[in-house]
Subunit: 350 residues, 2 copies
């Protein structure tokens, strides 16, 4: 009952293997009806591994994310998956933010997939020779590796998002504004920290170094960061938290310390969530379309796979919107958006 091969089909019909192969590839063939029948009767399915070996293609694309459990990354993966359609299947790797695992994973991946969508954990993650040699197509999403800024990427407008967030706080009269940042060694960590600083500078607010605490994008990290903020002799009155997970942690800390939001502490997060609306109080956040990011990444990857490195790297950016709810003191929720223009800029750098 082991699987029938193309030669079984050929034998049964009385033609050569090559004829069956041509039939399968859509060429016109004399006994196509007989072949069709034989295939059905033998329940023949072409051996994909043999086909791959011959063609040098695998029909697969890998996606490396720090953690599929983070809804933001899940959205990216989903976006990539729908954009891939039936053309490519997805291989998933969660690295748990460990650059060594990333490198090991990529090493295994080369030759096993036709391309890679890559969310590196740190900007100084090791570069892979195959990628640099442009023999293994990759597009970076959300984060880039500093040595490889010149590759395809789909980022978010972190700077603008952070600017929006911080300004929103300022507009509510705050001047003692803290920022719980992600690792500044990561693209979004850095970008958002810079946006935060820029907003303060724009409004001529002095930066208090105590109010900037660098954390690690995790719930626990956010919790500890907020706790340290609360332990300051002079507390901030508002805080901009640099990602979704840390915001949850910060909220837990606030709740535990019985600090009233937004009265005693205003808070704004980065990345929206289905539940943000339902927490107490409803959470004001910066939001961007992660699904779209994933889809754009897949689209440019497929293009790159097909065309090779003929065309220059595409560096796409997705916009960030302010979703106003109630955690910053606003009383009436609203959304400040760039209308429908979600792909903000698509700078082509040679």
């Amino acid at each position: 009952m082991s699987n029938a091969t193309i030669s079984d089909v050929a034998k049964k019909v009385g033609v050569s293997e090559s004829t069956v192969s041509r039939y399968l590839s859509g060429f016109k063939v004399r006994n196509s009806e007989l072949i069709k029948r034989a295939i059905k009767e033998l329940n023949y399915r072409p051996n994909i591994m043999a086909r791959n070996l011959k063609s040098g293609k695998t029909g697969m694309v890998a996606v490396i994310v720090p953690d599929i459990t983070n809804p933001f990354f899940a959205a990216i993966v989903r976006g990539a998956e729908v954009a891939a359609g039936d053309d490519y299947m997805l291989q998933l790797i969660s690295t748990g933010d460990d650059p060594e695992k990333e490198e090991a994973a990529i090493r295994r991946l080369v030759g096993r997939v036709d391309g890679l969508i890559y969310v590196p954990s740190k900007e100084n993650s090791p570069a892979i020779s195959e990628i640099e040699a442009k023999t293994f197509p990759v597009v970076f999403v959300d984060r880039v590796i500093s040595k490889m800024k010149n590759f395809d990427s789909v980022l978010a407008d972190n700077h603008h998002g952070a600017l929006l967030a911080t300004k929103h706080l300022i507009e509510h009269g705050h001047t003692n504004i803290a920022h719980i940042a992600g690792p500044v060694t990561s693209t979004p960590g850095k970008g958002r920290a810079e946006g935060y600083s820029a907003a303060l500078k724009d409004s001529k607010i002095d930066k208090n170094p105590d109010f900037f605490v660098e954390s690690d994008f995790t719930v626990l990290g956010g919790y500890q960061a907020m706790m340290s903020l609360l332990n300051l002799k002079k507390r901030p009155s508002a805080v901009f938290v640099g990602n979704n997970l840390m915001t949850i942690g910060a909220l837990k800390a606030l709740k535990e310390a019985k600090v009233k939001v937004p009265e005693q502490m205003a808070i704004i997060g980065f990345d929206d969530h289905e539940l943000s609306d339902l927490v107490n109080p409803p959470l004001t956040v910066i939001s961007r379309d992660a699904h779209l990011q994933g889809a754009l990444a897949m689209a440019t990857l497929l293009e790159r796979i097909k065309e090779g490195y003929q065309f220059p790297p595409k560096q796409l950016k997705v916009d960030a919107n302010l979703v106003v709810r109630m955690s910053c003191g606003s009383t009436c929720p609203y959304r400040k958006t760039n209308a429908d223009k979600h792909v903000l800029s698509s700078s082509i750098s040679s």
Copy 2:
């Protein structure tokens, strides 16, 4: 600069391809040092597709889930991934609850992966001949297909969980208890509905058919279900919602209708979330270890791949705990758990 093959290495060293191959497989070889050097210099990496073709193994396992964006499924996938370790890589497919897509996906998967972890959307999803013929190992997680109940599976103790939930409501004095159920054509939908009924029966509470509304496991579905409950002339005073997404929808409906929780309506959900603690009011839920479910599934799948269908099907069950917070009227949060015994029963059925 195209990739070096094993024959390049062999030529460079002056040995035969088989010798290099043996070296790679860990046999003792005379010129191992030379070979090692040549491999490094040529940057030789064995061609996986050729290896697969020869061995008939792919080193890959697929995971089919309805939607990776649902944190519960993401946890399953993550659990499976860590359990796989370095032995197998994961291929991910989200089917969007479409049985046809499931079937198409499985068809493509056969021959491309060594086994499958499968969360089918409906119990009457089509059976696949390769699976039935036990020529393609599969383990079902969370849900099963009715025709294939005799295969490996890792379910949750839905019945007991639902019983716990409903009893908790009853203990708080409720008698008009509604259930927003998932599709009763799905394993958990059915199991939880039955647990709900059993609890009512145990307490000799008459079942009000108006209070049972079958929905679809989505946020929107939960929202609509709750709305229909609120539109009843005689409203229930408490509701047990059958999964995480529908709970979010129900909560949204409650908020929109300005119904006070738990005073006017007590609510308990199925599946916990990092944010459940932070919503208003903190949500009481039934929780189970989805990560563990995924890990167990992967473990039994790998075993199955290695051993074939010699040993009888394993049907594992993971326990469900009550996590008490405040959405049912309790004032002091606590957790009712089966201590550390998370794998409840492991019934071996021949």
